[in-house]
Amino acid sequence: MGGLISFYISAGVAVLAALIAMLTSRSDRALAGFAVSFAALVVPLIQLRAATVAGVVLLAAAVIVILLGAVTRVGPRATGPGRRLPIAFWLPAGLALLGFVWVVLATGSRQVVDFGPALPNRAEFGDGTALLLELGANHGVPALLVALLALACVIAAVLGLVAGPARPAGVKAS
């Protein structure tokens, strides 16, 4: 019962904060809503015995907030009166919400509720060390690809920042 209550509370907070993050017109509020949403996502992940994933998600949320917070600081500060989001936003958003409610109502009465097997003999499931061993043993190629992507990303970012200003078109190097 406690698991159910904590799940509903965290799910409500996560969805509400995500909605606020997507609907607000201020970037700092959007970042705060996003951080709260990802922080609330930790509860269901821990319930699923994915504590390592929860830790990485928290770390990723912190990095995202720091990076995008820095981006919002370098941009021009908008001035002038605020306005409502236009109908071009609310019309598709309302239709999407209606579609989601329809999916929930249409499938909720016919869904197969399954709890999955118990874990008496797999107590190491979700453990960080076991996960790393599994990653190295059986999933080396995707891990290597992601590592290569990260390396290329870092090299490209550093080169982009260090290379200096690009010359305008038509200007030859001296």
Binding site: L4, A14, M22, A30, V74, G80, G82
Partner: protein
């Protein structure tokens, strides 16, 4: 499992829909990137739910990789923005960075008025402070 897997699936679906809506409908670069990250977080939750359901750690590994790829994508986007900042400071055109915030002074020549999301808007009040009778509708 403490709860049926459908609880987690519906939560992931709701988060994915919210992120998709923000990524598709908003013009702000920050909100679009946040929407993409929300979608990736929902996918990670989905992987974790099925990993527990099938008692297979491969799902958790996939969730980890999805989150890490999302971080890489975000780093590339931030590097592009920083590059744009440098170009803006060098050339002084003053247009490219307006994409960071929406509801900003941003004219769309020839664009449909209600699609241009409020010319001359600022971030002082936002959608919750929308008492402006001249809202772009």
């Amino acid at each position: 499992m403490a709860l049926p897997i459908t609880h987690y699936l519906y939560l992931a679906l709701a988060l994915f829909c919210v992120g998709l809506g923000g990524a598709l409908l908003r013009r702000s670069l920050v909100v679009v990137l946040l929407g993409i990250q929300l979608m990736l977080g929902a996918i990670a939750l989905l992987f974790a739910a099925y990993a527990r359901f099938y008692v297979d750690p491969a799902g958790q590994i996939a969730a980890l990789l999805v989150v890490l790829v999302g971080l890489i994508e975000l780093a590339v986007a931030v590097a592009i923005v920083v590059r744009a900042v440098h170009a803006e400071q060098r050339e002084g055109e003053g247009t490219g960075l307006s994409l960071i915030h929406d509801w900003h002074h941003h004219h769309v020549p020839g664009g449909v008025a209600w699609l241009s999301e409020g010319e001359g808007e600022g971030e002082g009040e936002g959608d919750d402070g929308g008492d402006d009778p001249g809202a772009a509708t």
